[in-house]
Each structure stands twice: as C-alpha cells, then as structure tokens.
C-alpha cells in the first residue's frame, strides 16, 4: 500500500498526484508514441478511431458525467464539425483556421441547443437532443450548395501549412493523439477549477447549486458549448479520416455509440472515455467477425458432430441470416448497455479501480467497499 503524506495544497491541485502516476502515464504516453512504428496500418487506423471516439467521449463526460445533462445528439455536433471542415477546406481555407473555426461554430450551436435544454431534464432532454440531431441531418441532406446533400462530400487530404498529412500516415495519428491529450487536459483543468465544480454541483443538486451562487442557466449553456466544441474538433478529424462524409454517417446510431462509450467506460472520470472508446471501436470488427466467421464455424462444428451436410448448410444459412439481420448491431448495443447499467454502473474504469483496490488491500478487501449506502430519504416537499 502507498501512503501519501500531504504537506502542500499544491499536492491536491496537481494532476499527477505522486511519482507512481508519473511512471504509469509516462509509460503509456511512450507506448502511444511508439505504436505507429510497431503495429500494422489496420491497427493504427483503428487506434485513430479510438482517439476520435475518445475525444467525443471526453466531451460527453463533461456534459453528461459532470453536468448531468444527457444527450443523444452528439452525432450532429460531430457532423457540424466535419462539414465545417469539408466546406471551408473546399473554399481554400487552411487547416489552422478551419480547425478552430469548426470548434467555435459547433460550440455556438451547442450553446443554442443548451438554451431550450435549460427547462428540460432527463428523458425530455434526451428527446430534445434527438430532435436536434434529426434537424441537423435533414439540413445536411437539403442544403446542397454547401453539403452536396445525400450525395455526400469528398474531404481532401489534410494540408498543414503546405505539408500534406495523409489520413493513414503517422502524422495524422499524432495529430489525433495531440487533440485527445488536449481535450483530456481541458476536462481535468475544468474539474479542478470553479467551473467544473459548478457542473458537478448542478448534477448532484440544482437547488443547492443555486443557493451556493451558481447560475444554472449560464453553466448548463457553458457545458453544452464546451462539449459541442470538443465534438466539433473530433468532427474535423473524423472528416479527414473518412475522406468522405455524407448525412447518413451521422445518425442516431452514432450518437448511441457515443453514449455507449461513456456508459461502458464509466462517466464519472475522464479515463472512462478512453476505455469506452477502445471497447466500442474494437467491438465493430468483432461484430463483423461474428457475421462472417461464426456461421461457418457453427456449420463445420455441426458437421463434425455428425450432422448431414445438408443440415449443416441450412444451419450456416440461418446463422448468417441472423448475423446480417438489420438492426442486429443496435440490438447488441442495447444488450451491452443494459448489462453495463445493471452490473457495472461505474463502467470499465470503475471495474479497474475495484481490481486495483483489491490488490492494494489484499487480503483485506471487503465486497461492500463500493456498495453505496442510502441512509435517508430525500423528500420532495422540504428542500
């Protein structure tokens, strides 16, 4: 076990609280920098998607995890960032201008969504954000002079001050890593200053937050704006990574994937964004494998167990029919979300903390350590 003696308030403000953190995060960063030189292009590409999803995860953690405002509209913020990049680039504007511009424009739209959201909470807010996402999707499909409608839009190779940054290259990988690290630092900095604490206060008790001098409206709008701006930046990277964008890429399913990132990773800390992103990005190849390999595998297993070739062929067809059924992905996602909410409400990061504590305290770990105790009932009447 480690005992940390505190002799200075700075020790509680610092992000890396003691030498152990320096070590582990140093090694992690070194590994991430070494990755492009070690892994193949397919895996590198997947990691870039992990970075992009993790940036959106951080954005959602700020809005949902810290401030307690749910959103199923983040695909739309991603779309706004992506289309801003695509359009401005096609007008000959440089990356160092359109990257911040996308953040600002998306942030402004986020603030606009935040205003009507002030009066809504819970499921009503979710519905409002879905409605917003549908509107954005519709605008993208109709505003053909800018977005080329349903035909979609090609996004040219990123050009950084005359240097091309191809989407499969190492430079692009590092750019995404840099933006992710930047977003994580932003979230952590917020968390250790008044704004982040105001977000948390709003999440846990609006009444008390108000009485402590927190302007609910102002901070909710700020939270929406910051979250949207980060997602907009992720959108720029996404557009370049895909090299082609069209409205049907930014559907409700994508918003659900983003929510899953934080449900699976854990919404109460920034680590969750990264863990959840890894899970979501890696589950897709897994689902594809499920579609292609499992039916074949099942059939060969069946025939080796003595089933007739006709029977095993039928089995394979049924299994691949199930595997490629429309909506299977959604159903599996739904199942995963339910399992996590029921069994791992603190997500993968929460599980990690429990495992870590188990080894730190071994053999003294009690199962009830993480049990929440509810010692009294809040009544609605007497605030």
């Amino acid at each position: 076990m480690r005992f940390v003696f505190k002799t200075d308030y700075d020790q509680d403000i610092r992000l890396l609280k003691h030498s152990g953190y320096w070590w582990s995060y140093g090694v992690l960063l070194a590994a991430l920098i070494a990755f492009p030189y070690l892994v193949g292009s397919y895996l590198q590409s997947q990691i870039v998607f992990v970075f992009i999803y993790a940036i959106v995860g951080v954005a959602l953690i700020i809005l949902t995890g810290f401030t307690g405002q749910a959103s199923l509209g983040h695909a739309a913020f991603l779309a706004i960032g992506a289309y801003t990049a695509g359009f401005l680039q096609s007008q000959g504007i440089s990356f160092i201008v359109y990257f911040p511009a996308a953040a600002i424009i998306t942030g402004a739209v986020g603030a606009m969504v935040g205003f009507p959201a002030l009066r809504l909470s819970g499921i009503y807010l979710v519905i409002a954000t879905i409605a917003f996402a549908f509107i954005v999707e519709e605008i993208l499909a109709r505003w053909e002079s800018v977005t080329h409608g349903n035909e979609g839009m090609r996004v040219r190779t990123l050009d950084f001050l005359g240097q091309p940054v191809p989407r499969d290259g190492d430079a692009f990988y590092f750019l995404c890593l840099l933006v992710l690290v930047g977003s994580i630092l932003l979230a952590l900095n917020l968390l250790r200053s008044p704004t982040g604490r105001a977000f948390i206060a709003i999440r846990d008790s609006e009444t008390a937050a108000k009485s402590m001098g927190i302007d609910l409206a102002g901070y909710k709008v700020k939270s929406f704006a910051i979250s949207a701006a980060l997602t907009g930046m992720a959108g720029v990277l996404f557009a370049h990574k895909m090299s082609f964008i069209s409205p049907e890429m930014f559907t409700l399913l994508l918003s659900i994937e983003f929510i899953m990132v934080i449900i699976i990773g854990g919404a109460f800390g920034v680590h969750g964004a990264v863990l959840g992103a890894i899970f979501i990005v890696m589950v897709d190849p897994f689902l594809t494998a499920l579609k292609d390999d499992v039916p074949v595998l099942g059939a060969s297993l069946a025939s080796s167990l003595g089933m007739s070739s006709e029977g095993s062929g039928k089995l394979r067809d049924t299994m691949s029919a199930i595997g490629s059924a429309a909506g299977l992905k959604g159903a599996i996602y739904g199942l995963i979300i339910m399992m996590f909410i029921l069994f791992e409400p603190y997500g993968l990061y929460g599980r990690w903390l429990k495992v870590k504590l188990f080894f730190q305290l071994f053999p003294l770990y009690k199962k009830a350590t993480f049990k929440r105790q509810k010692t009294y009932v809040k009544s609605e009447r007497n605030r």
């Binding site: 308030y9 700075d10 509680d12 403000i13 932003l186 900095n189 917020l190 250790r192 200053s193 008044p194 704004t195 982040g196 604490r197 105001a198 948390i200 206060a201 999440r203 846990d204 008790s205 009444t207 008390a208 937050a209 108000k210 009485s211 402590m212 001098g213 927190i214 302007d215 609910l216 700020k222 109460f268 929440r372 105790q373 010692t375 009294y376 809040k378 009544s379 007497n382 605030r383």
Partner: protein
Amino acid sequence: MSFFTVDSISLQFGGLKAVDKVSFSVEKGEIFTIIGPNGAGKTSIFNLISRLYDPTSGKLFFEGRDITEVPAHQIAKLGIARTFQNIELFENATMLANLLVGRHCHATTQLWQEILFLPSVRRAEKEHRRKVEEVIEFLDLQAYREKLIAGLPYGVRKVVEVARALCSEPKLILLDEPSSGLNVEETDDMSFWIRDIRTELGVTVLMVEHDMTLVNRVSDRVLALNYGKVLASGTPAEVQAHPDVIAAYLGA
C-alpha cells in the same frame, strides 16, 4: 433599518397559504429562531429568503437593500448562505469539493483561464483552499476531506452542510433544523458551533429548530409560527409561555 427584515411576506400554493403576511426583523449578531409545528411554513420562509420561491406579496430587505427581486444565484454573493432540512449536498463529490463549491460566489477566474489552468487560477484555488481549511478546522472535519459524501454518516453530513454554507463567508446564515436526526451528543456539538458561528465568526444566525432545549440554549429571540401566521415573538421564555403557542403545540 434592521440588518435583515421580512416585511409582510406571503406565499400561496394554490389555495394553501403556506406563509401569511409574516413580518420580522433580525439584528446583526443575533441568533433568531423560528419555531412551529410541522407544515407551519418555516421552510417556506427560508425558501423565500433564498429566492427559490417568489413571494405572492411582501418584501425582503437585507442590509437596507430590497432583495425581493434578486435572482436565487446572486443571494450567496450578497452574504446569505443556507443549509437544507433534508441535506442537499453534492453526493458524488468529495467533502473538499463540496466545501469548495461553497466558495463559488467568490470565484473570480474566467472560463478560458481555467481551461488553461493559468497561474492566476492556481493562486485563486489555493486561496479558496485556505479558506476551506479554516472552516474544516473550525468544525473539526479533518477526517473527511477526501471522502465521498455518499459514504458519510448522517450526522457528519449535517455538519458538512453547515461547513459548506460557512465557506461562502456569509453575513447571515440560515440553518433549517440543524439538529434534526442528530443524537444527543451531536446536538450538543451543534449548539456550541451555532454559538461559535455567532461569536467567533460574527455571522448572524437565522434558524428553524424543533429541539426546544437547543432553542433555549442558543436563541436570543424566537418567532412562533402556525398555519403560515405569526403566533408570537420575543425571548424564548416569553414565546413558550404564550397561550397561543401552547395551544398550537398541544393541538387545542
């Protein structure tokens, strides 16, 4: 004019007059207690003062200023802090974070500075932390700094709420039933702290309380309320001897 004045304030919920033309004033440095049976309208008066509810009629004055129209989130900055009858702490945050939220009305840093965590933010944070540590020292909360509120026992939460209110360096503190749910020993501590809040910190105390021993021990003046109306006011002894108060409590 008095330090704090409630002038003929009323609050109506549909047909129910929760607060009915209540007037009283609190002098600087006083411990003023509101008593009354359940549903008398005590908490409603606090909610009116902290501007969570809009009064149907009447006015509130604090340090000579009309605060009837001030939005709820600006009340703390004026120097009025409060606790809640049913504890409204930020459950999933540490005690330290809760107390630092109490400092929010003194926050001076801008969002962009916080995002970059500039030296000015760090300096401000340390200043807030110093103030918070003073309150922790004052209320003996050293053991709980890093603990999540959700894991703290009820008695400690009650004290943390008082601490959070004190962190805003109020001039007037509203305590809604500070001793409810506490055992005898904890109630004793609370009564000492309430007196210390007044004498050592110089904060005026307006509280709602059911425990008459505590009321007698700390209050300078008492106001008795029933069905939203003032029954009596004066020293604790005077109010408890008042026939209307006795009738209200005995249900006659």
